[in-house]
């Protein structure tokens, strides 16, 4: 493996986008959660919802800020590191990414200010509108980004001109490429799961200290409901997406399952050490015939293995195989947690089982891990192509030297380590204080007023 500008650019893109996706995964779900909390509060006028809103808005502000600044990087990296790809793909992907900025980024950025700082200046209806617009913006943003990524995975609606350039032929086919619906659903559900797990963990943490804490009891139930519904749904969507990969990206599927030979009755490998250099698994722990059944629906089905493709067309196998297992393993654990919580809820209250509360705390970060693992499967699995069967990653890189990419990669690692530590520290500190603690503290210090309270109608201070 040579550390040239190509390899370093790939590492840098992987690092910066993996870092970035952590924050949108959280804030997409959290923005919707905040909209639900504010609606519940306006509808019931229960103080607990307001307290929860103010608390999670603090966490949202930190996460959203980190998502914004790490997202700006992405819109420039296309050009700095992948200028050949940028120039070739712009006739198709350009409008999609421009629409993301125009329809979502501005909406979120503008109304975030109203949502966080507009308490004294707008009425409750308008404030709620701002929250909803931010939540809507996060989903629209996901729509365009997933649309662009899906096109790179399964390009459609384009033609290659006589000069070899890619041109869009049918925009709807570009935007709604064949795998777009399941990928969009998979990502949005993932975001909701991430949020449910974090909200559940923070609430469980408070309840371990004080099992009567009102806000945490409400939030824990909301998180359990979300987890119990979304985690199983995610399994179904993911399975559907997997079935699609079998036909559209057979090399990716073969890497996910570490299938080397094309045959019927493929074994399912629970664990293995796939090695590309020998085109085989060094060892494997397998269940006979189950692989064909899981991937193609029948043990008699012939499933393509990696040896049916030239070595230069095979993706890295080890990382895809294991990333997939991490994602699915955590997904199954999430289903278990959701159902366990729902059962305890039905039996009288999840806060009565300290074991469940501890498990919920432990599962708090699992959503992030699953998201990064899932994206690893999707993106590494697309290799060696940057645009599936249209452009190779090796041909996409900018005419730059390895020295400047090494410098920027090291700098990114340093800067992201600093801001990640800061962000995680401040979010955990907020969570340790809990909804009640944070609210009273901020009410004293920053004089937050609720919409609907008498002071909300007061004119802004001169």
């Amino acid at each position: 493996m040579a550390f040239d500008a190509l390899m370093l650019s790939r590492l840098q893109f992987a690092f910066t986008i993996a870092f970035h996706i952590i924050f949108p995964s959280f804030t997409i779900g959290l923005a919707s959660f905040l909209a639900v909390l504010e609606a519940s509060w306006l509808f019931t006028m229960r103080e607990a919802f307001k307290t929860l809103y103010l608390f999670w808005a603090k966490v949202f502000a930190i996460s959203f800020g980190m998502g914004v600044v790490s997202g700006v990087v992405m819109s420039y990296e296309f050009g700095t590191n992948w200028s050949v790809f940028a120039k070739a793909s712009a006739p198709v992907l350009g409008p999609l990414l421009a629409f993301e900025v125009l329809t979502a980024f501005f909406l979120e950025a503008s109304f975030l200010g109203v949502m966080l700082m507009g308490w004294k200046r707008v009425g409750p209806g308008l404030h709620f509108t701002a929250t909803c617009l931010v939540a809507f913006g996060t989903l629209v943003s996901a729509f365009w980004i997933i649309s662009a990524n899906s096109w790179m995975q399964s390009p459609s609606g384009f033609v290659v001109g006589a000069d070899g350039k890619i041109l869009a032929a049918r925009w709807l086919a570009v935007i709604f490429s064949p795998t777009f619906p399941e990928r969009f659903a998979h990502m949005v559900l993932a975001a909701y799961l991430v949020t449910a797990l974090v909200v559940g963990a923070a609430s469980a943490f408070m309840l371990l200290k004080d099992k009567a804490q009102v806000e945490s009891k409400i939030a824990l139930r909301m998180a359990i409901a979300m987890c119990a519904i979304v985690a199983p749904a995610q399994l179904l969507v993911g399975d559907h997406a997997g079935k699609d990969i079998l036909h559209r990206q057979p090399t990716k599927l073969a890497a996910i399952e570490a299938f080397w030979d094309t045959k019927t009755h493929q074994a399912f490998h629970i664990a293995a050490w796939p090695d590309r250099s020998i085109a085989a698994n060094r060892w494997e722990l397998s269940i006979p015939s189950l692989g064909s059944w899981i991937t193609a629906g029948s043990a008699d089905a012939e499933v393509v293995g990696l040896k049916s493709f030239a070595p230069k067309d095979r993706p890295p196998v080890f990382i895809i195989f294991w990333a997939f297992r991490v994602m699915v393993g955590l997904g199954v654990a999430m289903i278990g947690l959701g159902l366990w919580g729902a059962w305890l809820w039905w039996r009288g209250g999840p806060e009565r089982s300290r074991l469940f509360l501890r498990a919920a705390v432990a599962m708090g970060p699992s959503g992030f891990v699953a998201v990064v693992a899932g994206w690893t499967v999707a993106e590494v699995g697309r290799q060696p192509w940057v645009i599936w069967h249209v452009m190779r990653t090796a041909n996409a890189v900018s005419p730059i030297g390895h020295a400047e990419v090494s410098a920027s990669l090291l700098a990114f690692m340093t800067v992201y380590a600093i801001i990640f530590s800061g962000g995680v520290l401040y979010i955990l500190r907020l969570m340790a204080m809990g909804p009640a603690g944070v609210d009273t503290q901020l009410t004293a210090r920053e004089r937050v007023r609720a919409p609907g309270s008498p002071l909300a109608a007061a004119p802004p201070e001169p």
Binding site: G65, T80, S83, V84, F99, V101, R121, P399
Partner: protein, 341 residues
């Protein structure tokens, strides 16, 4: 009638970048002036004047990058690798200052001073990097067959450094003008003093940078009607409106400060930037990568450009509308004690 899409796209990108320069310019300027604030309380107030806006302001930078990719990939794919290091330095500096808005609120004994410094340092470095990138842009980029063919440090010249320092003074001027507009009392008086100093420094740099540009790049001179052996008066005459506009802007700032106006210094600062921006536009049009690629050569495929511009035509009025609404909503002076949230 057929629409000249590349021309319309150029105007829109130019406006987006200009709005970015003005909007993030004043909030980067406030960050630069952080160094000179007297107390943590004064810094809190300074930050509160920009807290509701900075995220929206920075979005224009995303539109500048994303828009250039979508509308003029031929320029985007050359400028970004050519200006790799300044762009990367700018992005990382913007990250540090961007998170500082939130982190500074949550930091305690050690954290708060750390993020205060990060906010100042990030603002300063982002500005310097933008100035260096601008310098590298003006000096020209080595292009072969429509692709960047130069070295990683082509932009690192004394001329770029001059531009970078001038931009720091310019943003500080905008930032000080903004603070005069948004604050009262002691901070307002400090901002007034900063504005005066920044005006003098920015004037000197503006003059120096203009002269240096004419001396360094003969290609630019031709745009202004200045040939090697004579001056082409009919070409030069209309261009003279641009430096006159700049002088008017500086006069507005200067007399605004003298007369203790709260808003004229900021307005004057905007005019100064408009003049500088028009000056650059006049020096390069129709090149989008100076001396190498015109906006027509850089333009995206007609159907893609048409779709982007159609989207812009529908969406930009909304964006401008709610951006204006947010500015209006948070109008008025910011007290030293006004909470961020």
């Amino acid at each position: 009638m057929t629409l000249d899409l590349p021309l319309i796209g150029t105007v829109i990108i130019a406006i987006a970048v200009f709005l970015y320069v003005l909007l993030d310019g004043f909030d980067l300027g406030v960050g630069i002036l952080f160094l000179f604030a007297r107390s943590p309380l004064e810094r809190d107030a300074m930050m509160n004047t920009i807290a509701p806006y900075w995220d929206g302001n920075e979005t224009w930078l995303v539109l500048g990058g994303g828009g250039l990719f979508a509308a003029f990939p031929g320029a985007y794919a050359v400028l970004m690798p050519a200006l790799y290091l300044p762009v990367m330095i700018m992005l990382m500096a913007l990250i540090l200052r961007g998170v500082a808005f939130e982190f500074r609120l949550h930091g305690r004994r050690r954290g708060k001073p750390l993020w205060t410094f990060a906010f100042f340092f990030g603002s300063l470095v982002a500005t310097l990097a933008q100035g260096m990138a601008l310098g590298g842009f003006v000096e020209g980029i080595n292009v072969v067959n429509g692709a960047f063919a130069g070295g990683a440090l082509d932009w690192a010249t004394p001329y770029s450094l001059l531009m970078a320092m001038g931009l720091v003074a310019g943003y500080a001027l905008l930032g000080a003008g903004w603070l005069m507009l948004k604050t009262d009392g002691g901070l307002h008086r400090d901002a007034r003093r900063w504005a005066m100093v920044a005006t003098i420094v920015a004037t000197a740099f503006l003059a120096a940078a203009s002269l240096a540009t004419l001396l360094v790049k003969p290609e630019v001179d031709a745009h202004w009607g200045i040939e090697a052996d004579h001056v082409n008066a009919p070409v030069l005459a209309p261009h003279l409106a641009i430096p006159i506009l700049g002088a008017v802007g500086l006069a507005v700032v200067f007399f605004g400060i003298r007369r203790n106006s709260h808003h004229w210094p900021f307005v004057g600062g905007l005019v100064v930037f408009l003049s500088g921006y028009l000056g650059l536009a006049a020096s390069f049009f129709p090149d989008m990568v100076p001396y190498a690629i015109t906006f027509r050569q850089a333009a995206n495929a007609p159907n893609a450009l048409g779709l982007v511009l159609g989207g812009v035509a529908v969406l930009l009025p909304f964006i401008l509308g709610y951006t204006a609404y947010v500015y209006w909503l948070f109008r008025g002076k910011v007290g030293a004690d006004a909470g961020y949230h």
